[in-house]
Symmetry: C2
Subunit: 349 residues, 2 copies
């Protein structure tokens, strides 16, 4: 089995109250995943008065789900610090605690990102030796996929943080692509050695010396993300969050232009009908819901953030991602690699 789990031994804990739609996207989302993987089990946390009416529509999903009623919710615009203080008994906190206690293998939430990270840090704790947990996602590229981190957990980081991100990302890419030594690039403003901020150049120096679970490629630029130049793109949460949101925006602009063009004339609309299947595939390829799921990395437990605006399809993608990582023993692998990193003088120096 080489470290992979059977799906029937996996339980995912769900904070059903997060995001714009709460249970209305979470429960139908679980139904989508359940269809493909009927052996998975779910612990669902939230308002049972909203959950049961939805869950009762899916008999077979109900059979593998346990609902835990909660009366309080962390609001999407609450500051992480204050959310943390008043988090006892909320759907989010209980769902995270289910992972800490071992009842679940991963938690998925589309709630307040800052609050979820704060809670995950306090309840699950960072892995030994990890300074800053980070958020990672998988992006589509021309040649496959790329893992990118940090997407916004840490605005200010130092060179060592970035090196740890490289290790975390390489484990993720290995699970995701099966590659033995994924290539890792540092996001920068140019590929020349002397360019860029201190923390990025410092990380480059360390990464070119140490032995780790990936292969250090060098600096990459923003356009390398979608080109698929490397398997892992490492950056700080400031540039990472801006790049992520910019990419979302450009993708939406493309869809907008596309719709406008097709609707511009009757002939175009007729042509659009003929090419319907192809154009639908095109729209699907731009669909951010299918790449949904920010993985919190470097914690003692698996936590996946679904986009707050995502519907059932998006929520299902995030749950699938959590299952994939749980199945491949992601946390244990990360812990091993971080331990290996911490034994190396060139990292500690």
């Amino acid at each position: 089995m080489s470290g992979t789990l059977n799906l029937n031994s996996i339980t995912i804990s769900i904070d059903a109250m997060g995001g714009d739609f709460g249970p209305e996207s979470a429960i139908p989302g679980l139904a989508i995943v359940h269809k493909d993987h009927p052996e998975l089990r779910f612990l669902i946390y939230g308002d049972e008065n909203r959950i049961y009416p939805l869950l009762n529509k899916y008999k077979s999903l109900s059979a593998v789900s346990q609902v835990h009623h909660t009366a309080t919710v962390i609001k999407s615009d609450e500051k992480p610090s204050s959310a943390l203080r008043s988090s006892k008994g909320t759907s989010m906190r209980l769902a995270v605690e289910a992972v800490q206690s071992g009842q679940a293998d991963a938690i998925v939430s589309s709630g307040n990102t800052g609050a979820l990270m704060a809670l995950a840090k306090v309840v699950l704790r960072p892995l030994s030796g990890i300074h800053r947990p980070a958020i990672a996602s998988v992006f589509p590229t021309i040649s496959g996929t790329t893992v990118m981190l940090d997407l916004g957990a840490n605005v200010l980081v130092d060179a060592e943080n970035l090196v740890q991100f490289a290790v975390l990302g390489a484990v993720f890419a290995k699970v995701n692509t099966g590659k033995d030594k994924p290539s890792v690039g540092l996001l920068n403003v140019g590929s020349e050695d002397m360019k860029g901020p201190d923390h990025v150049r410092g990380a480059a120096e360390i990464l070119s010396k140490i032995e780790f679970n990936g292969h250090y490629y060098g600096f990459v630029e923003g356009n390398d993300i979608t080109k698929g130049t490397v398997d892992v793109v490492v950056t700080d949460g400031y540039a990472g969050n801006i790049a992520l949101k910019t990419a979302e925006g450009v993708s939406k602009l493309s869809s907008y232009y596309f719709k406008k063009s097709i609707k511009s004339s009757p002939l175009a609309m007729l042509g659009g009908l003929f090419a319907y299947g192809a154009l639908k595939r095109f729209k699907t390829s731009l669909d951010p819901r299918l790449q949904n799921g920010g993985v919190f990395m470097g914690l003692n437990g698996l936590c996946v953030k679904s986009h707050g605006g995502s519907d059932d399809v998006g929520f299902a993608s995030a749950v699938r991602l959590s299952v994939q990582l749980a199945q491949h023993g992601y946390i244990k692998r990360v812990a091993d690699e971080i331990n290996h990193l911490l034994t190396q003088e060139s990292f500690l120096a």
Copy 2:
């Protein structure tokens, strides 16, 4: 005339040797601009043995162009510092000097960005009171266009630099859109006040106090760039360059998916034929060449950088942008606004 120049009094100086194609994109590019604006004049710097064979194809363009032979060229991969030392007599330097001496109203080059900025700083000098010249471009949005800066000239900036960028950008947006008080947003990782790096939060504090040629909107995120939330997006060169290149990459990925979808079946190709005009408009809207041109802002002279990989269409867009700014007395307007900024205590404090 309210400060606008006649096109027949405008001369643009051209470094014809930059970018991937040198004169092969620059001269046909000038021919495109010349067709629409036959009254413009050009000073062309570069290797006459490559320029004349191209220029001779366009009789009427030749009549408004003066070629200055240069034997040396700044290479695209040369470090700015060493490029500067050996820049005497190069096409780039002479083209910039033509603006300094008043022979030309603006210079356009598709050469080495770092070298061009270094040369422009030394030859044209920053405007009095400007600490850091920046690079700005116009981006398409769902509702129109947005000016964004800095796109890579300054990796490290402080709050006051960002405030100056806001002023520079607002003048650009005013010329570009005609709006009297363009809205200005600071690019950040979230819209809450307490988020983001120090220099961004510091700039927010100053911008909300001072009186300037724009209206301070607040923080914006990466997806606001293409949404058109504000007329001007202000950021440092690190995040700005990464956002710019990420946007380029996503735009290319969209085009790639689109082509792949249309070629996926004979029916789709037939539909594509019917919708040919509309789909061509779609591709045009994604065409980065039509938004080509990085404007160097805060200098005592107009300098526009054309993308190194751009062809004649792209080069023509950059030249058009330089003409638009020259025509509206951009440099004088910026100088006035910066002077106004520097008289305000809340900026200097």
